[in-house]
Subunit: 366 residues, 2 copies
């Protein structure tokens, strides 16, 4: 694996000092920012995540802030999900599409007030899309990237750790709800959310200077819980069926292809971009869709889409794959044509090291 | 330096096989794509670039294609530069700004026809901005990312190498002009341009499958010219005053602050986004601007903006810096307040290893 050449353009985060002190071994770049990928080894990080609690520098989940009288109207334009029922205190997973229904991002929206939202983005400059629409439509809304950096607590002991730092009330937060909790004399937005299936929280740290004090307080408070620096884990997220924008889906794909049709209410999400295209997709159904796939044999890292075939016929591709210690198999995420997406279908996956036998699964490994 | 964790999201390029075979040692990520940063060492790559010829994988200069009856109109909306005189066959450096005049990108536009352009972008998803405007304004234009990957030839022997592969006519290309030249029975767009001051070409390779045949032909044809795989070089580009979007300028900056005021014709670039803000800037002049700076002592890598002070007063920042073998000094790019931007002004630069004496230069080192 080659080195990453650091520069100002690959932005450091308010937590980078903590990440480096913890001995980060690998990075990726996400929203022009450093995102740790491994501390001990992918396998060891995985076991620890499932057993204890980790603190994740996910500052790269940058926020697009919308505020002003037209913020709510613009939010509904951004997504086929019906936002009419969304209240302050709630987080919504919000697929965002272009006029053809192609995915531009799959952010989580945080409603701060009727006229103020944060959109916590996956890896694309969604800010440019939102600013372009707001400008061209002359909307009364300010769109910007605030100084907000999420820090995640993930793992079965996340509740215990969060309670020690923010008080027991944080345990009562329901999934995808948030509240304000005191840290060091000021309020922090804490949501029950995160990019793992192990449970936990994301703290939206406002003001870079508050980053390391919080990081250090969490590490100190969690010492006997075996808290460690961690990061989104490739194996765990594939087991859990957590999609990665840019890996498992791109602008080529509709939400329906990504299995996100349940978030599309094209009949009621009035004014949303891509509505016409998605009404057609909703009517006909997608012709290919994301599926869990089990692959035989040894696997190289998945750096490019691996073609999936049935005999000589191409029927899809695999875009994420890893060996799962807990399940003793290779877990994978792929997109398959409807002729070959039924559970139990036998396929050939053409990895960069050659062909492997594979079988479509009924469900992800939870 | 930690490792980079590869994944499909950090896209490989049509030339990645060649880059790896040449022993790439470091990468950065640019437009969600791998960009090599070093092959032998930054210093050795630098000396070779200035003496011979290098082939650069700059596929990460992704293209935004605009085609259709409104393509020209939309192009003029994207930039304060007056495009009325632009003809097919020309390339234009084209600062692109938001409604406040903040830089969104600093691409090079290639005019293919009256109704068709490629915009060769720096590191931001300009596609999202252009698509947003085109959609919201109901323009008759298709905006997309085509399968086009630039490959650069840079260095004093670039003309010799290009002539061997594309024929002697390529020598007649003037700066920022392009032509179509035959390779292997099909036409390739070759422009005299590139991100170095050593001269050379950029070949816009259409179709990923044509990447490695061209790479291999260039390596073969240039053997006695000491051709090597190379990449944009940190030292050489600072010496030459070539700005890097995300490093030396961001959305915070106007073109005038970046020394790009000569590309802004806000009186005649009718309809361009940001015109009102830039008319004001043009009238008053910027209050800070990019300057070449010479810094004393040993320097660490510049990973964050280094504050620049005069006594206790902050007067700017340095965003790129490197030790120059040819000039025997540390060359740097910074943005300084007008009170302190005159050549000869003595300053203190606060690097991550402590303060250093510095002096503002009259010109970049060419």
């Amino acid at each position: 694996m080659p080195m990453i050449s650091p520069s100002r353009r690959l932005r450091r985060t308010p937590f980078s000092a903590g990440v480096e002190a913890a001995g980060v071994k690998g990075y990726t770049v996400y929203n022009h920012m450093l995102l740790p990928t491994v501390f001990h080894s992918i396998e060891e990080d995985y076991r620890h995540l499932k057993a204890a609690v980790q603190v994740w520098d996910v500052a790269c989940e940058r926020q697009v802030e919308l505020r002003g009288p037209d913020a709510g109207r613009l939010m509904q334009m951004l997504t086929p999900r019906d936002l009419r029922g969304m209240l302050p205190g709630q987080c919504y997973y919000m697929p965002t599409v272009d006029e053809t229904g192609g995915m531009l991002n799959d952010p989580v929206a945080v409603k701060l007030a009727e006229d103020r939202y944060w959109v916590s983005i996956a890896d694309s400059d969604l800010l440019f899309w939102v600013k372009g629409l707001a400008y061209a439509w002359h909307l009364d809304v300010i769109v910007d990237e605030p100084d907000v950096s999420p820090l995640a607590l993930q793992g079965p002991k996340a509740d215990d750790l969060a309670a020690r730092v923010f008080g027991d009330a944080v345990r009562d937060l329901r999934f995808f709800r948030y509240g304000f909790f005191d840290f060091d004399g000021s309020q922090m937005l804490v949501a029950r959310s995160g990019y793992s299936k192990q449970g936990g929280f994301e703290i939206y740290v406002e003001g870079a200077e508050r980053g390391m004090p919080l990081w250090n307080a969490l590490m100190e408070a969690g010492r006997d819980l075996d808290v460690r620096a961690g990061c989104p884990n490739l194996i765990e997220r594939i087991e859990g069926g957590l999609l990665s924008y840019g890996n498992d889906m791109t602008r080529d794909n509709t939400p329906h292809e990504c299995g996100l049709g349940r978030f599309c209410s094209t009949q009621t999400a009035i004014g949303c971009v891509g509505r016409d295209a998605l009404l057609r997709v909703a009517k006909d159904g997608p012709t290919r869709q994301i599926r869990p796939i089990c692959i035989d044999g040894d696997l190289p890292p998945c750096l490019e889409a691996w073609p999936v075939t049935d005999g000589a016929k191409r029927v899809g591709q695999v875009t994420s794959a890893a060996s799962s210690p807990d399940f003793g198999i290779n877990v994978a995420i792929g997109m398959l044509r409807m002729t070959h997406w039924e559970a139990g279908t036998a396929l050939t996956v053409h990895t960069s090291d050659g062909p492997r036998n594979a079988v479509v699964q009924e469900e992800f490994w939870l």
